[in-house]
Symmetry: C2
DNA sequence: ACCTGAACACCGTTCAAGT
DNA sequence: ACCTGAACACCGTTCAAGT
């Protein structure tokens, strides 16, 4: 009675419904707010009811990752492997922008889920279809690293300093101890549209590094690079 | 009395001693085992005693990061910016191999500590000393991302499958659903020295991607690249 | 003034008692 | 057989009572 308000029965729980609610919960309140107890309350259910559909919290997180990996746009052919991989990765990035908690959760997984393996397999397939050797494709995947999921580990979140005067003061304090950082921050172009809260242009930085890597991989491919050098 | 066994007074607590113990604790038992209560017990002290030296657990983690950043070898001049940055980053990697918990903690920081800023500033300084523009140095730092700390986000930890027969079976199961992954795993060279537990050669993968990025940055530098294209 | 035991408000998960 | 309340073994941190 404490859990069921009113007399109408709720939609019965299912793994699907649990996972969907968990994703929505994390989207709204952040991953650190997501608890089994809190999620149960959200679903108007006793905490232990969740354990009928997920073995434990780790498996809940696994399921959440699989769910959002499913949101990544499927591969489309044409335009060559480089454009295809680029497009797919940028699609993954768009997904992660909707689920800011996902990078941290992806990082914390200890074993790959089927959805994760399927996505990786399909990206490798795009490289192979483009003629890259298994060897180069392998190292290319490692080099791309978390970028195939659409995120990079930022060095640190740049603090949003909105007020111009605060900004000037912070810059002064910075340059006293960290002149090189201060120089970079000062030189940063400041277009209000593309830059959020005075930070760097995440999209630009992401594509800059992605293209640096894809161009380098393409160069190696053209020169028939191999990790075990031919004699 | 419950905390102090015997009559001899322990070395008095200090921030230094707390941080050092926390690092040792995480090195030994992993970061998820590190709790304020457990750390206090390790130091033979009542939990609340820690709060004299760190404001809370977040500040404890900040201090731990600063402590290991201090272990990174200082910059040495000569050999050009590329070799200098490369050497410094590989030194950072050596530090992180001693502290496997550090990547996850570094990622979870919400504001940079002085030690972190100092390290970043010095790496930027190396790029600038090599003649790179502030603009290029800025984007280069973003592109390197967590690699300047000596780690990359692995896609997922490759499960160590020691037994050759298990390995063959796992490969068969893999190829049924994920042919491209299976191909790469099968093609993987298998030198017992460099490869731990059947996984990839982490050192090779790290240097492969690092050099891809450094070479790309060098190429942009030589061509006087700018993020705001000259008309 | 300093230190610290107990308490608070949480966790994830086990388990036995209820239907 | 299924479901679930209570309990267990933890957390980080507050706070008031002790010295």
């Amino acid at each position: 009675m404490a859990q069921q308000t009113g007399t109408a029965r709720r939609t019965p729980l299912s793994r699907e419904r649990v996972l969907r609610a968990a994703v929505a919960f994390a989207d709204r309140g952040g991953i650190e707010a997501l608890s089994m107890r809190g999620l149960a309350q959200e679903l108007d259910v006793v905490p232990m009811a969740l354990y009928k559909h997920v073995a434990n919290k780790e498996q809940l997180l696994d399921g959440m990752v699989d769910m959002i990996v499913g949101e990544i746009a499927p591969a489309d052919g044409g335009d060559g492997w480089k454009a295809a991989v680029r497009g797919r990765v940028l699609s993954a990035r768009a997904v992660l922008l909707r689920h800011p908690w996902a990078p941290r959760v992806i990082e914390s997984r200890t074993a790959p889920t089927p959805g994760v393996l399927g996505y990786l397999d399909s990206v490798i397939g795009m490289l192979r279809a483009g003629g890259l050797s298994a060897d180069l494709a392998h190292h290319a995947m490692h080099a791309l690293g978390s970028r195939v999921w659409g995120f990079t580990q930022e060095l640190f979140p740049s603090p949003p300093v909105a007020d111009p005067q605060d900004r000037a003061e912070a810059l002064g304090a910075l340059s006293a101890h960290y002149p090189n950082i201060a120089e970079i921050v000062a030189a940063r172009p400041h277009e209000p549209g593309s830059v959020v809260g005075g930070g760097c242009d995440d999209r630009f930085e992401f594509e800059f590094a992605l293209d640096l890597l894809l161009d380098g991989i393409e160069r190696l491919h053209r020169s028939a690079w191999s990790s075990t050098p031919q004699s």
